[in-house]
């Protein structure tokens, strides 16, 4: 592999992720619209939103840390995209395995925590403390899943895992319990109901986002599309065999994302302690049982 190709990939992978992520955001909004018996936003709505936010005349910064926080949030995901192998592009996936990816996935939350902390808005602070608690909650099963998958596939590299699944069976067939636990973790990671406590508009006015505006909010919107993409593709890669072509991967990824979305609009949110209790109970148990099988 030559450097120019790698550079192209490093540029293309986040771009593809962004575009696909936008489509996923659109899908999410369309799903909610359908369930709520309405039409929903037009096709280009997610991109309009982002451009609008970046085009705002006023951009309020709450200091350097605030700026850095957002950069971390988006950057964490961009980093994650580079580690996610997709058809035709591996990026630096072979350099860092799933463990690195897991760390990258934590960066955005920490970045947010930093940025929000600077805003000095109590709602934001409460939100971010809840978000960190929630992260703690879903990270335990997530780590277990990553651990289990790595053990099962005997590789910490996603490329390796994909190769394994393409030669063997899909992960979901071989590790169904772990896959279910993965769905739980996915719901938590995406911060969708019933694990949505840290946003909670009715209590803390969307928590961490309360002071975000303009391009910072735009950054969060970008982050969201990356997040959906990452979640979808990561889950598809871990349990659904990934895909050799985009045509194979994308339906899987969209399907994966559609599941939590469909569930989300049917449930209210749990309280923080319930989130922790639930997350540490069922998915952890499932993951542990699954681990037991694997081990």
């Amino acid at each position: 592999m030559n450097y120019s190709e790698l550079l192209a990939e490093l540029f293309l992978m986040p771009l593809v992720a962004f575009v696909v992520g936008l489509l996923m955001v659109l899908m999410m909004r369309k799903i909610s619209a359908r369930l709520q018996r309405r039409i929903g936003p037009p096709f280009f709505q997610p991109i309009y939103d982002i451009i609008k936010l970046y085009g705002k005349d006023t951009q309020i910064s709450h200091g350097l840390i605030h700026d850095i926080g957002i950069v971390m949030a988006v950057g964490g995901y961009i980093g994650a995209e580079l580690l996610l192998p997709v058809p035709g592009m591996d990026g630096i996936a072979d350099k860092g395995g799933i463990i690195t990816l897991s760390y990258f996935l934590m960066i955005p939350s920490l970045g947010m925590a930093l940025g929000v902390g600077q805003c000095a808005n109590p709602n934001g602070s409460i939100g971010i403390s809840r978000a960190l608690t929630a992260m703690l909650a879903y990270d335990i099963p997530f780590i277990l899943i990553v651990f289990g998958a790595a053990w099962h596939y005997e590789s910490t590299s996603l490329v390796g895992m994909l190769e394994y699944q393409q030669t063997h069976q899909w992960g979901i067939v071989e590790m169904p319990l772990l896959a279910i636990a993965g769905l739980f973790a996915l719901q938590g990671m995406l911060g969708k109901q019933p694990f949505e406590i840290y946003i909670a508009p009715a209590e803390i006015a969307t928590g961490p986002m309360v002071e975000m505006s303009g391009k910072y909010m735009g950054g969060l919107f970008v982050m969201q599309s990356f997040q959906l993409y990452t979640a979808g593709v990561l889950y598809a890669s871990l349990f659904l065999g990934g895909g050799t072509t985009w045509l194979e991967l994308l339906p899987k990824a969209f399907f994966v994302v559609a599941i939590p979305m469909s569930i989300a609009f049917m449930f209210p949110r749990y309280k923080t302690e319930d989130v922790v209790r639930l997350m540490w109970k069922w998915p952890v148990m499932l993951a542990l049982i699954s681990l037991a099988f694997i081990l």
Partner: protein, 617 residues
């Protein structure tokens, strides 16, 4: 209904059942605004022709959103009760409660089904709308909330007035109308919407809304006070006024189909009610209110103690001048006494009005005929101003062949004789020529005399005008006349009084009237000569109009004055071409009490102004 127990924990799967909504169609409406319901309270529309500018909508509007705007292009007509005011609505206040629709007496203002109006921040002017038939944006939306039978807030029906039955009243001159009871009066008064159209229409601009309001509040003295502000002949007007106010009344309008027929407020009867129920002494006190305490020392002579003369006197006395009224007859009241039969206006009521006027300080000298007992020159010398208010005492003649017969009489002459008790031969049958109220008066008076004498009525009224179309007499008069067995022949013109060879009157010949006025609106009746009728009668009475007896003036003065078509030329204040002489009342305006009163006020004001100027100089 499925019961849900509290102890049920619920299910995690139940909500997922609703994923079926993926397969269901959205219920979102199209972006285009939906048509509103049939009785929606949308933006206003106003039918400019129906609207009379009564401003009831403005008064009921709870948000003070309605401004009355003057539209010069609309012709005002006070006598028909039309103002050139139209409502404009401030959508920065309106709440679309539609109370304005429900109160509108003419169903002019209505709400349409249009409901979308947006504007940019600097276009708030568009919030002040002047509703027309096509709606706020000229889009001709369908009507929404309109007036229906149930939604009409107005009380459209007049409280019925108790009257004597025809058989009870026909043989006497007792007053026919009973008058309201307190309860009825309050109910009738409660119908008023205070639009003031009556006040505009009234020649004397009586404060009808105010006294109606006072009656409604049960404060009759207050009501009388309002009346005496503009009319010292309230007793008379409470009975025999031509009530132009009632034809102008906004409640007399009939609205859309489905709205009950509507009757104007019985303003005249309410006035009568208030006057009848306040004691005379109290009225005297009220009449004195506002009388100037300082005497001006100037003197005014008034010729004729009719409504015009006495009103002038009343006003001038209150302004501190010394006034003497000269009356040729033994009693005051002029044509109201000697032209209106007792069953319509009992004499004691008239006496009371005059008494009240006298109590204010007006000096009336009865049985003094100017030109005979005192000359005009004398009057001029003794007084600073002289008012001529002698009314129209002489009847006009048709001048048809045979009208010079002694049994062809003039209505005014007969009417004057009846209250005086002067004897005349009551005919067994009579024909009255004319269709106005005077014709009805004489017809009904004669009918009463006939009934007393012969036990039966034989009166025919022959009028040029057609009943129900352009008939001159009031509907009530016609109705009551018919009840009293009087035959009314409409659209018939007199041709000749038939006189037999002995010179005795046998009756009247009439022909059918085709039209009364020519194209230019001048009086030029056309007859259909083929349709001739003969009406047998012992007496023919002409009741086609009156004229003034100007003999009082004396030749010199007659010469000096300017004349206009047989009447003295006066300016708008009643001042004649001679500096010290004013003229008022019927002889200027034609026969009508309320006009005479209005005239009296006007003349009094002008004289007062003149006297003040004179005093200064």
């Amino acid at each position: 209904m499925k019961k849900i127990e509290y102890k049920d924990k619920g299910s995690i799967l139940n909500p997922l059942k609703n994923l079926q909504f993926f397969a269901r169609k959205p219920i979102t409406e199209k972006l285009q605004p939906r048509p509103a319901s049939a009785s929606y309270r949308g933006f206003h529309i106003n039918d400019m022709d129906k609207c009379i500018g009564c401003s009831s909508c403005q008064k009921i509007c709870d948000n003070a959103a309605i401004t009355m705007v003057e539209v010069p292009s609309i012709a005002e007509d006070a006598s028909k009760g039309i103002r050139n005011l139209r409502p404009a609505i401030d959508y920065g206040r309106c709440c679309w409660c539609a109370l304005c629709v429900d109160i509108c007496p003419t169903s002019a203002i209505e709400l349409s089904r249009e409901y979308v109006h947006t504007c940019d921040g600097d276009e708030t002017d568009s919030y002040f709308v002047f509703p027309q038939e096509s709606g706020i944006h000229g889009l001709n939306f369908e009507k929404g909330w309109t007036k229906t039978k149930d939604s009409d807030l107005l009380d459209r029906e007049r409280r019925p007035m108790q009257e004597m039955k025809p058989e009870d009243r026909i043989d006497n001159f007792d007053e026919i109308v009973d008058g309201f009871t307190m309860e009825m009066a309050v109910e009738e008064a409660s119908r008023c919407v205070d639009c003031g159209l009556c006040e505009d229409a009234c020649p004397a601009h009586m404060h009808a809304p105010n006294y109606i309001r006072s009656i409604y509040e049960g404060n009759l003295e207050q009501a009388v006070e309002w009346m005496y502000e503009t009319n010292p002949f309230s007793h008379v007007c409470g009975r025999v006024c031509t009530h132009i106010c009632e034809s102008a009344c906004s409640l007399g309008r009939v609205g859309e189909d489905g709205v009950k027929t509507s009757q104007p407020i019985a303003i005249r009867w309410l006035k009568r009610f208030a006057m009848d129920h306040v004691p005379k002494t109290k009225i005297k006190q009220i009449a004195k209110k506002g009388k100037a305490t300082k005497k001006s020392g100037q003197r005014v002579a008034i010729i004729g103690a009719g409504p015009a003369g006495l009103t002038t006197a009343f006003d001038l006395v209150k302004k501190g001048h010394q006034v003497t009224v000269y009356e040729a007859q033994p009693k005051g009241g002029g044509m109201t006494r000697y032209g209106i039969p007792n069953y319509r206006l009992p004499e004691d009521r008239l006496d009371q009005d005059i008494e009240v006027i006298q109590s204010v300080g007006v000096d009336i000298q009865y049985n003094v005929r100017i030109g005979k007992d005192i000359t005009m020159q004398q009057l001029q010398k003794d007084n600073d101003a002289v008012v001529l208010a002698i009314g129209l005492q002489n009847g006009r003649s048709t001048r048809i062949p045979g009208s010079e017969n002694k049994n062809v009489k003039k209505a005014v002459d007969l009417l004057r004789m009846i209250p005086k008790g002067e004897e005349f031969e009551v005919p067994k049958s009579a024909v009255i020529i004319g269709g106005g109220n005077v014709a009805m008066d004489i017809a009904r008076s004669l009918a009463r005399l006939q009934k007393q004498k012969f036990g039966k009525v034989g009166i025919t009224v022959s009028a040029l005008e057609t009943l129900g179309k352009n008939f001159l007499a009031d509907d009530e008069e016609v109705k009551e006349s018919k009840e009293e067995d009087i035959t009314i022949l409409d659209a018939r013109g007199p041709v000749q009084c038939v006189i037999d060879k002995k010179g005795k009157l046998t009756g009247l010949e009439t022909v059918k009237v085709v039209s009364i006025f020519d194209d230019k609106g001048r009086f030029a009746p056309k007859y259909d000569d083929s349709d001739k009728q003969f009406h047998e009668a012992e007496m023919v009475v002409e009741a086609i109009g009156q004229m003034a007896d100007i003999s009082v003036l004396g030749e010199e003065l007659t010469e000096e004055l300017e004349w206009n078509r047989g009447r003295i030329q006066v300016d708008e204040n009643g001042s004649t071409s001679v500096e010290w002489l004013w003229s008022a009342g019927d002889m200027v305006n034609g026969p009508d009490v309320i006009h005479a009163v209005a005239d009296g006020h006007r003349v009094a004001t002008d004289i007062d102004k003149y006297l003040r100027k004179e005093k200064k100089s």
